[in-house]
C-alpha cells in the first residue's frame, strides 16, 4: 500500500497544501511590513489555546483559533500605539502564552508527547473534522489575501499614503493580524506552532532572491510553500520524524539555493549593465545675499569647537554670534 492510499496521509497532504499556500500568502504582507516575527508570537499564544481545548475537552483547533485571534488583536493594538513599552508588553504576552499552555496541558493530564504534536506537527493526528476546519479557514485566508491584495499592499507599502487615500488603515492592519492568527491555526497540525512562522517568512525570503515585483514575490512564495510542505510531509513519513522539522529544513535549503543563484545572477547582470551614472544632484543653491566674512583667518572644521548648525546641504559654524559657512577658499556670513 503506497503512502498516498493511507487516509491519514491524504488528510495530511491536503492540510499541507493549504498550509503551504496560506502561510506564505499572509507572510508576504508581514515581511513587507517588517513584522516577520509576528507569526512566532501568535504561535506561542496559540499554545495556550490548544491547552484550553485539551483541558475543557473541546476541539483544540477551535480554542486555538479563538485565543490566537485574541492574541493577534492584542499584539496589533500594542503595536499601533507605538509606545516603547509595547516591546516588553509583547514579550510578556509571548512568554505567558507558552508558560500558560504548558501549565494547562499538565493540568489536563496530557504529557509532553501530546504537546509535541502541536509544537512540531504530526501526520497521524489530523482528524477529518480538523481537516474541515483547516480547509474552511485556509480558504478564508486566501480569499482575503488575494481579494484585498491592492488595499493590503498599499497599507504595508506606505501606511501614511494609504491613510490619505481614505483606506481604513487600522482596520486593514487588524485584518492582517487576524489572518496571521488564523493561518497559525491552519498550520498547527502540519508544521506546528513553533515553526509556523518559518513557513510564513522563509518562502518569502526565498522568492525575493529572484523576483522584482510584489505580485511575483507573492505567487513564487506560495509555490515554494506548497512544494516545501508536500515534500516535507512525504519525507517526514519516510524518515518517521516530525513534519514541521522536515518542511522547514527543506524550505531553508531552498533559500540557500535561491540566495546563491540570486547573488550569481545579480553579479552577472551587474557586469553586463553597470548602474547608469546619476545626474548631478542640485541641492540648495548658493545662499543669497552672498556676504563674504571679512578677515576670517580661522578655518572651521568639525573638531574646531564652534557650535555646528545644519543648514540645507552644508554646515554653518557659530562664530562670535555669526554663522559662517565654507565657500570655496573663503567663509560666508549666513
Amino acid at each position: 500500500m503506497s503512502m498516498f492510499q493511507l487516509e491519514f496521509m491524504q488528510r495530511a497532504l491536503i492540510a499541507g497544501l493549504l498550509t503551504g499556500l496560506s502561510a506564505p500568502a499572509i507572510g508576504t504582507y508581514l515581511v513587507q511590513r517588517r513584522l516577520s516575527l509576528m507569526g512566532d508570537g501568535i504561535g506561542h499564544i496559540a499554545i495556550t489555546g490548544v491547552a484550553l481545548g485539551l483541558l475543557t475537552g473541546s476541539a483544540p483547533v477551535f480554542t486555538a483559533v479563538i485565543v490566537s485571534i485574541a492574541g493577534a488583536t492584542a499584539i496589533e493594538l500594542v503595536r499601533a500605539r507605538g509606545k516603547a513599552s509595547g516591546d516588553v508588553a509583547l514579550a510578556l504576552l509571548f512568554y505567558g502564552g507558552i508558560a500558560g499552555g504548558v501549565l494547562l496541558i499538565g493540568l489536563a493530564g496530557q504529557g509532553a508527547a501530546t504537546l509535541n504534536t502541536y509544537l512540531f506537527g504530526s501526520l497521524t493526528t489530523v482528524s477529518s473534522s480538523d481537516l474541515y476546519v483547516v480547509v474552511g479557514l485556509a480558504v478564508a485566508v486566501l480569499v482575503v489575501a488575494i481579494g484585498l491584495g491592492p488595499q493590503l499592499f498599499a497599507v504595508c507599502q506606505d501606511e501614511e499614503f494609504a491613510r490619505v487615500t481614505g483606506l481604513r488603515v487600522q482596520l486593514l492592519n487588524l485584518v492582517i493580524a487576524v489572518m496571521a492568527a488564523v493561518t497559525v491555526t491552519v498550520a498547527m497540525r502540519t508544521v506546528g506552532l513553533l515553526l509556523v512562522s518559518a513557513l510564513m517568512v522563509v518562502p518569502v525570503a526565498t522568492a525575493q532572491q529572484i523576483t522584482r515585483s510584489f505580485r511575483s514575490t507573492f505567487v513564487t512564495a506560495c509555490v515554494i510553500g506548497v512544494v516545501a510542505c508536500l515534500a516535507g510531509i512525504v519525507t517526514s513519513y519516510n524518515a518517521n520524524v516530525a513534519p514541521g522539522a522536515t518542511i522547514v529544513v527543506l524550505a531553508l535549503a531552498g533559500f540557500v539555493v535561491a540566495a546563491t543563484v540570486g547573488t550569481l545572477l545579480r553579479r552577472r547582470h551587474g557586469r553586463i549593465a553597470p548602474l547608469e551614472d546619476e545626474e548631478p544632484e542640485v541641492g540648495v543653491p548658493a545662499p543669497e545675499p552672498h556676504v563674504v566674512s571679512a578677515g576670517h583667518p580661522h578655518a572651521h572644521n568639525p573638531a574646531c569647537g564652534h557650535t555646528k548648525v545644519e543648514h540645507g546641504d552644508h554646515v554653518d559654524y557659530v562664530h562670535d554670534g555669526h554663522l559662517h559657512a565654507a565657500h570655496g577658499d573663503h567663509w560666508d556670513e549666513h
Binding site: 506606505d158 487615500t165 545626474e279 544632484e281
Partner: protein, 252 residues
Amino acid sequence: MTHSPDSAPKAVQVSDLSVDLGGRLVLRGVDLQIRQGEVVAVLGTNGSGKSTLIRTIVGLLPAARGEVRLFGTPVPRFRQWKRIGYVPQRITAAGGVPATVYEVVSSGLLSQRRLFTPLRAAGKQAIEESLALVDMADRRKDPVAELSGGQQQRVLIARALVSDPELLILDEPTAGVDLASQQIFADAIRERVARGTTVVMVSHDLGPMDALIDRSVVLRRGRIVYDGPPHASQTHAHVHHSHGADEPGWLT
C-alpha cells in the same frame, strides 16, 4: 489661472489651527484659506512647522485646537479622498518585499477602487498616462528600491496624479532631487495647474517650480509671518531675514 467664484467652498480652510507634537506646540493659531485653482507655496526654515501644517491638512496629524476643512468638510469627517493627491517627502516605508514602479503607482487609484474588484481598463490607462507624465514609463517593471532619489520622487508624484485629484498636496517634492527630475516635476504640475488643479506645496527651495506659484506663505516658529504674492527673492527671504517689515504681505 481659473479661480472659481468666491461662493465655491475653499479647497483648504485652516482656522486657528494649533498642533501639538510630543508636548511642543509646532503650529500656533494658523489661519489659511486656499481657493480652488490657486498654487500656493508654503515656505520656511527647518522646524518652522511647514510639514506639520501639510500633514495636518491631509489628516495624518490631529489638531490640538482649531480645524482644517477640505472643500468645506472638516477633515475628520472628510470622505472624498479621491479629490486629494498627496506626495509625501520620501518613500516612507521601503518595505521588506520588492514593489515595482507600476505597483506603487497603481495604489494611487485605491481611493476610487472598490474592494474585491480587479483594476479596470480605465485605471490601467490612467497609470500609463501618469507614468508617461513623469517620464518613468520605461521603468515600470523596476523595483522602486533600485531607483535614484529623484526617480523615486517622480514615482510618488505619478502615484498622486493617477487619480486626477482636484487638490494636490506636496511635501518637499524637490529636496535632494536632481535638476532633470525637478524639471519633469514642474512640467507635470504645470500641466495640472492649467486644468485648474489646486496645488499646495511645501518647499525649502522651489527651483523650476518657482514660476508656477501664485502665492507664497512663510511660516516661522509655527506662525504665518508672510502671506501674499511671491517675489523674486522668496526662496531665500525666509531663510535670511533680508526682507523689510514694511513690504506688503509681511505680517507683524
